[in-house]
């Protein structure tokens, strides 16, 4: 399997604009307060093999969408490197980035309401010279057919379609540039269950017929478990666990992963009267020291608030960032019991 996309220590921070007065104060030396920065994504290293579906899971504010946008070239990275088929694209290059397209969550917001479907779908391809303007109608028809829409819909406007149909249009727009890699950012989250099934099937069909590779970003564990080959779990800007889908769901290592899996409502689960994990995602403006999960972690030890655990291999191909895996930590009885319960 060849690596298609690789990120190395990819990070993104945003500066917080202070008021004019505060900036003036520090300019004349009245205040020494530095510009605050939010570290949205920290040192994310991922590799996606050709033809693979990598799931990226986390709660809101964990930085999963920011990772997707950096990979798609919509946001420049603050530091780190990004490579596509061995070529460095940390500074977005148009030629290579045409291979990476994105499908967004909300098809009501991602389509221009004043453009007809044929314009939406063909605009980028015409601009980049992939298709001639006079051949556009045939080009649009074939794309609409590929995503399961009637080609006669080409002259309609987005508001004439249902949510599921709009998402198909958004997918056709992504396919128009003949990409190898698609970033799906919560692409099925806004859809009804029965429509979601249709769109997931479409993604699977396209993967088969076009050999597409996906980064599938979602907060929905059931969807990720269904579609992804490997899963990365993010918490507050960092990857805390990374492994193939089966291992993540059968033998989750990180306490956060275990909490996520236990808390997700599932149809096939037994009724368990478990107490959900407490607390909320801390503010990325003031991340907790050490392991950022320690204030919510049921197994937190003194070292968890002092030292940040590194992502380490706990089983072949299974990476986790937790001090419970430190060689000198002998699991306390309740930790061992918690592991046994899951495994």
């Amino acid at each position: 399997m060849t690596t298609m996309l690789e990120t190395r220590d990819l990070s993104k921070s945003f500066s917080i604009k202070r008021s004019t007065l505060a900036r003036a104060a520090s300019a004349v030396g009245l205040s020494r307060q530095a510009d605050a920065r939010v570290y949205a994504v920290n040192e994310v290293s991922l590799s996606v093999a050709s033809g693979e579906v990598l799931g990226l899971v986390g709660e809101s504010g964990c930085g999963k969408s920011t990772v997707g946008r950096m990979i798609a070239g919509l946001l420049p990275a603050t530091s780190g490197a990004l490579a596509f088929e061995g070529k460095d694209i940390t500074t977005p290059s148009v030629d290579t980035h045409l291979n990476i397209q994105m499908v967004f969550q909300n098809p009501y917001a991602s389509l221009n309401p004043r453009q007809r479907v044929d314009q939406v779908v063909s605009e980028a391809a015409i601009y980049h010279g992939l298709v001639d303007k006079k051949d556009a109608s045939g080009f649009v028809s074939s794309l609409l057919k590929q995503v399961g829409l009637d080609p006669t819909y080409a002259s309609r406007y987005p508001h004439q379609f249902s949510g599921g149909q709009r998402q198909r249009i958004a997918i056709a727009r992504a396919l128009a540039l003949n990409p190898k890699f698609i970033v799906c950012d919560e692409a099925v989250s806004a859809l009804d269950v029965s429509v979601q099934a249709q769109i997931l099937n479409l993604f699977m069909d396209l993967r088969e017929s076009k050999g597409l590779t996906y980064l599938f970003i979602s907060h929905n564990l059931a969807v990720v478990e269904y579609i992804a080959d490997r899963v990365a779990i993010m918490y507050l800007g960092r990857i805390v666990e990374l492994a193939d889908t089966r291992s993540v769901f059968a033998r989750p290592n990180h306490p956060y992963t275990r909490a996520l899996i236990a808390d997700a409502p599932r149809l096939d689960s037994k009724v368990v009267e478990h107490r959900p994990i407490q607390g909320e995602l801390p503010s990325p403006l003031k991340p907790p020291s050490g392991c950022t999960f320690h204030p919510r972690c049921p197994h937190a030890m003194p070292r968890c608030s002092e030292q940040r655990p590194l992502l380490r291999q706990v089983a072949p191909g299974h990476w986790s960032a937790c001090h419970l895996n430190d060689s000198d930590v002998s699991a306390t009885p309740e930790v061992a019991a918690a592991y046994d319960q899951v495994n």
Partner: protein
């Protein structure tokens, strides 16, 4: 006597393009202290059910028929005054977006206090005590400090807790929750579901929980109504419906959910799309998408009853 008995409720929307029947003969009962889940996709009428029960249907919509018996009183004839006595006191509602029910320029404590003061004459100190207790019951840490906060100072999960506290502060007989956890993260949703379950158990409040996700109400609800195009097409105990759905639409809905054992296989998907309310097919509205449909399905299926379960289908499964 059941706490709530809804009989043949019809809610219509009169639009320029015609009359849309958003609720078509909806009937169900809810006992005191029980939890009823209502599941359906967008446009199925689940939110209109909630708004109709609260008499919050606005023009061009109107309740066109049926009765809502609450503690034996038919609320269809209730006056505006009677409704303002009931709402917030005996029947409370929690919306999907807590910002819709919270006033952005009022402190949390003052808002919840207002809910009490409108319905009862009690002292300031007593109000504060009750508000504090309500905030505590929904799991808000440091409730005394939080009472001084404005809604924008709280996270989405905390706001929804405040909205729930606002609903329970007068210990109502019935709470109607319309997709209250849909906008929340998985772990926060789990916390709220856990607390609601305990709350309903401890206080004896009946709960109607509306959701598009059947797995959310699986452990919470006692009974489930499945809605499609304005009708309740199946009703019964949650566990039995999930294990053994009778209506082909319910079966399709359950089979469409991605599950681990289907990894790599195609998901089942119901053919076609939900029909627009303005041009519903005659008879069974699901018939055009149904593999079991026959000529008989051109008639509207009545409610069939079988061992404590109800369904509207001429050709039920199993």
């Amino acid at each position: 006597m059941a706490l709530l008995e809804v009989n043949n409720l019809v809610t219509e929307f009169h639009t320029e393009a015609g009359v849309a029947k958003a609720l078509d003969n909806v009937s169900f009962t809810l006992e005191r202290g029980k939890v009823l889940g209502i599941v359906g996709e967008s446009g199925s009428g689940k939110s209109v059910t909630a708004f109709s029960l609260m008499n919050l249907v606005e023009k061009p919509g109107r309740i066109a028929g049926g009765e809502i018996l609450f503690n034996g009183e038919n609320l269809r004839n209730a006056s505006v005054k009677r409704w303002s006595q009931l709402r917030g006191d005996r029947i409370a509602m929690v919306f999907q977006d807590p910002m819709m029910s919270l006033n952005p320029v009022m402190r949390i404590g003052a808002q919840l206090g207002e809910t009490i003061a409108i319905h009862r004459k009690v002292s300031r100190a007593e109000i504060n005590e009750q508000v504090c207790a309500a905030l505590k019951r929904v799991g808000i840490p440091a409730p005394v400090e939080r009472m001084r906060a404005y809604p924008h100072e709280l996270s989405g999960g905390m706001r929804q807790r405040v909205a729930i506290a606002n609903a329970i502060v007068n210990s109502p007989d019935l709470i109607i929750a319309d997709e209250p956890t849909t906008a929340l993260d998985v772990t926060i949703q789990a916390q709220i579901l856990y607390e609601m379950k305990n709350l309903a158990r401890a206080s004896g409040t009946a709960l109607i929980w509306i959701t598009h996700d059947i797995s959310v109400v699986k452990d919470l609800a006692d009974e489930l109504c499945v809605m499609y195009a304005g009708r309740i097409i199946e009703r019964g105990p949650v566990a039995e419906i999930i294990r053994n759905p009778l209506h082909p639409y319910t079966r399709g809905l359950i089979d469409s959910l991605p599950q681990a054992e289907n990894h790599g296989k195609r998901l089942y998907s119901i053919p076609g799309a939900t029909p627009p309310l303005l041009s519903l097919p005659p008879g069974c509205t699901f018939a055009p998408r149904c593999s079991r449909a026959t000529g008989e399905c051109h008639k509207i299926p009545p409610v069939f009853k079988l061992e404590g379960r109800e369904y509207r289908c001429f050709h039920p499964l199993a």
